[in-house]
């Protein structure tokens, strides 16, 4: 992957993710979240997993981000107090974890000399693998999604007395 593309995309994704985390207004944060998802999808495309990128956009941006926006709208407070303060302890823990992960990455020597294989993957291949090798997880995921969907409905449904 091209270094230039990588660095641009990195900056974009990280910036929007930071915005999603740090912006005081909730709706702004949700929208920035969607942007960061798009950035990640571009990443996937750059890394040769275009299908995953498209799935990402479909699911994350199309469903999750929208769901978040809807929830924000449903739980919106009239007094306009959408401001959330920051807890600096949490920030410290996050930074510590980041340091730890970096250190873990740098400590592993085998990562340095890794080379990329330029074998692309086609949708056909993905489809065959899914239905041939990964049928079981596929069906389970289907059940899971059904259960989640029904569950969320029941949760949110208002009791009519």
């Amino acid at each position: 992957m091209n270094i230039a593309a990588f660095s641009l995309l990195t900056i974009f994704t990280l910036a929007t993710a930071a915005a999603a985390a740090l912006l005081p207004r909730l709706i702004h944060a949700a929208l920035c979240l969607a942007l960061s998802f798009i950035g990640v999808a571009a990443f996937y495309a750059l890394l040769g997993a275009e299908f995953v990128g498209l799935v990402q956009i479909l699911v994350y941006v199309g469903a999750v981000a929208v769901l978040i926006v809807f929830t924000i709208l449903l739980t919106h407070r009239e007094d306009g107090k959408g401001v959330s303060a920051m807890n600096w302890g949490g920030v410290a823990v996050a930074i510590a974890v980041f340091d730890g992960l970096l250190w873990a990455i740098l400590k592993t020597p085998s990562l340095m000399g890794a080379t990329a294989n330029s074998e692309p993957i086609t949708v056909k291949q993905i489809g065959i693998t899914l239905t041939a090798g990964y049928m079981w997880p596929l069906q389970c995921t289907g059940i899971l999604l059904t259960a989640a969907f029904i569950g969320a409905l029941i949760l949110v449904m208002e009791e009519k007395r």
């Binding site: 807890n87 302890g89 949490g90 823990v93 996050a94 510590a96 974890v97 730890g100 992960l101 250190w103 873990a104 400590k107």
Partner: protein, 658 residues
């Protein structure tokens, strides 16, 4: 092959002892049983003593003995035994006969006393102890019976326990004789240590036999003197005589038995028994121990005679007379006239008991009044008592021919005359003879002659027959006894010494005899002159008040003791008490205080330290718990932060450990 009687000599003291125990356990209000038991015991003892006496008549001069082992210390056996020899047998007969008379007399005398049974218990016990003392073949057995005699005499002197003077007298008697007994016991131990045996005669091994006496070496004198301490205490020699006059606090039969015939005789008997020890290594019949005996006896005799002249209690005169006569006996033993001394002891037993019982009869008749200055004219009112008392007085004073005291005194004077060391005892004994006659005449004059000086004596009555018959018996004995004592027929002397002494009629008419008769007559004449018509005040007191006062107060000896020895012992007791109270008690209290301090400290520590510590601990735990539970804030993000940090830590750990 010991004869039956010798091995069964223990029957003699056993009978009164059994009687005493039976009376103690089974006596009732009906006194007849007590009387039967006591008298039977005495009669039995007399019977067996007679038997023993006849045994010795068959074998004159022999010491028959029967020894047995009492118990064994490891390897060493402790042996005791009975002894029968002429000295013993004569004493046994005298003691049992006199005791029997006194027991019969006591039945009448103590008729009104509420503690009749207790009296006979003690009297029988005393009799048993005395008889045991006499038959002992071992110095240890003798000492045991000696102590028992002392104990019984304590009980008997202090018989009227509610009287403080009686209790004090009993205590004084016991303690004074105890002081003598300490010397006796030391001598006993020394003897045992040196010679290895305490048996008197044991086929050549006894401590009075030659081999043992040789082994004692130079300590013979000291041992003899130590044993003499005991004898001096029991027989009331100077300086341990102070208990005897006070012992008159007891009932009169007690005085008769103890202080006339038996207990005081025990001391003289001891010296006679231990005579081989005293006379070992004698040069012309003189040893240092025997000399000491003579001098002490002399001092005692003269001193007591002088004091007797100024006494006004009927029994006290007789008590001092006893002390004086005992001194005389000791002198006799000391100068070598052992047979003479024992003969006088036997005779003295009879007539002194007679005199004491007569005094008892007088006291009973005068409704328990004892002051002679309040008596008088009893000759007509109490004739039997007068007659027997007169016989006793003549025997004591030494009236010649018919009266036993005369012959024995002759023998003693003869022996003192022959003493090589000094003639002073002889002269002082002569003075004693004069004084004896004088004070006895004084007593007779005051009590029996003249007119009644008091209303009690005015209405005196003769005593009942149960009391007068023993008096008569003893009087007869006193007279008859003289027959065997005359130098004309020296049967008793030869019996006692084992030697055949020729007797001849002419011995009665020695110059010594005449001189002493003269002295006796002089004494009686002076006495009658001075005292026959005396009023309530003593004539001597009127003429020589200071001398009289000195004599009346017993030469201030009791007061001297009180201010020195008694005071010192009281001071020592006070010091010991102070030490006990302050020092030892202080230690104990200090220890207790330390204990309390420890308890206080522990309690404080427990309350202040441990309690608070535990409380603090609990509080701290609670605070800690509260603090820890505060972590459960319910805030999810806190939990998540904690999880994040924890996972990071695990990651680092995983990486570090490979």
């Amino acid at each position: 092959m010991t004869p039956w009687i010798v091995s069964h000599l223990w029957l003699i003291p056993a009978a009164p002892l059994l009687a005493s125990l039976l009376i103690l356990c089974f006596a009732t209000e009906k006194r007849i049983f007590t009387v039967i038991l006591a008298i039977t015991g005495q009669v039995f003892a007399l019977e067996i003593s007679g038997h023993a006496f006849f045994q010795t008549l068959c074998n004159p001069g022999v010491h028959d003995f029967h020894n047995f082992t009492w118990f064994i210390f490891g390897e060493t056996p402790l042996r005791l035994g009975w002894l029968l020899d002429p000295l013993n047998a004569a004493m046994l007969v005298m003691i049992t006969l006199v005791s029997l008379c006194i027991f019969i007399f006591s039945v009448g005398y103590m008729k009104d006393d509420p503690h009749f049974n207790r009296f006979f218990t003690f009297l029988s016990l005393f009799s048993a102890a005395m008889l045991g003392l006499v038959i002992a073949n071992s110095l240890l057995l003798l000492f045991i019976c000696w102590e028992l005699v002392g104990l019984s005499s304590y009980f008997l002197i202090g018989f009227w326990i509610h009287r403080p003077s009686a209790a004090a007298a009993a205590k004084k008697a016991f303690i004074t004789t105890r002081i003598g007994d300490i010397g006796f016991f030391l001598g006993l131990l020394w003897l045992y240590g040196k010679s290895g045996t305490l048996l008197f005669y044991a086929n050549g091994e006894g401590c009075l036999e030659h081999a043992a006496l040789l082994s004692l070496g130079g300590s013979v004198t000291v041992i003899a003197l130590l044993i003499f301490c005991g004898a001096a205490g029991k027989s009331g020699q100077f300086p341990l005589h102070v208990w005897l006059p006070d012992a008159m606090e007891g009932p009169t039969p007690v005085s008769a038995l103890i202080h006339a015939a038996t207990m005081v005789a025990a001391g003289v008997f001891l010296v006679a028994r231990m005579y081989p020890l005293f006379s070992f290594g004698a040069i012309h019949g003189v040893t240092p121990s025997l000399q000491t005996v003579v001098w002490i006896g002399t001092i005692t005799s003269v001193m007591a005679s002088l004091i007797a002249i100024a006494q006004s209690d009927i029994k006290r005169i007789l008590a001092y007379s006893t002390v004086s006569q005992l001194g005389l006996m000791m002198v006799s033993l000391g100068v070598g006239g052992m047979a003479a001394g024992i003969m006088h002891l036997l005779a003295h037993g009879f007539f002194k008991a007679l005199l004491f019982l007569g005094a008892g009869s007088v006291i009973h008749g005068c409704h328990h009044g004892q002051d002679i200055r309040k008596m008088g004219g009893l000759q007509r009112l109490m004739p039997v008592t007068f007659a027997t008392y007169a016989i006793g007085m003549m025997a004591l004073s030494g009236f010649p021919l018919l009266f036993s005291g005369a012959w024995t005194k002759e023998e003693i004077l003869h022996a003192t005359w022959l003493w090589p060391v000094s003639v002073v005892p002889h002269l002082l004994m002569l003075a004693g003879v004069f004084l004896t006659a004088l004070y006895m005449t004084r007593q007779m004059a005051y009590v029996f002659f003249g007119k009644a000086r008091d209303k009690n004596s005015l209405h005196a009555h003769e005593s009942p027959r149960v009391m007068t018959i023993p008096l008569i018996v003893l009087a007869v004995c006193a007279v008859l006894f003289s027959i065997v004592l005359t130098p004309a027929w020296p049967w008793l002397e030869s019996y006692l010494t084992g030697e055949h002494i020729p007797g001849h009629f002419g011995a009665i008419f020695q110059p010594m005899v005449f001189f002493s008769v003269l002295l006796v007559g002089a004494g009686v004449w002076v006495g009658m002159r001075v005292y026959s018509n005396a009023g309530k005040a003593d004539p001597l007191q009127e003429s020589q008040p200071e001398v009289f006062r000195f004599l009346e107060n017993k030469m201030w000896i009791d007061e001297f003791y009180e201010h020195t020895l008694l005071k010192w012992s009281a001071d020592a007791a006070r010091l010991a008490d102070w030490m006990d109270r302050r020092i030892w008690d202080g230690f104990v209290r200090a220890a207790a205080g330390a204990g309390r301090l420890l308890a206080y400290a522990t309690s404080n520590f427990d309350q202040g330290g441990i309690n608070i510590g535990v409380d603090q601990g609990c509080d701290t735990t609670q605070d800690l718990a509260r603090a820890v539970s505060a972590w459960h804030s319910g805030n999810i993000q806190n939990y998540l932060r904690a999880i994040g940090l924890g996972t990071l830590a695990l990651l680092i750990l995983y990486l570090l450990l490979g």
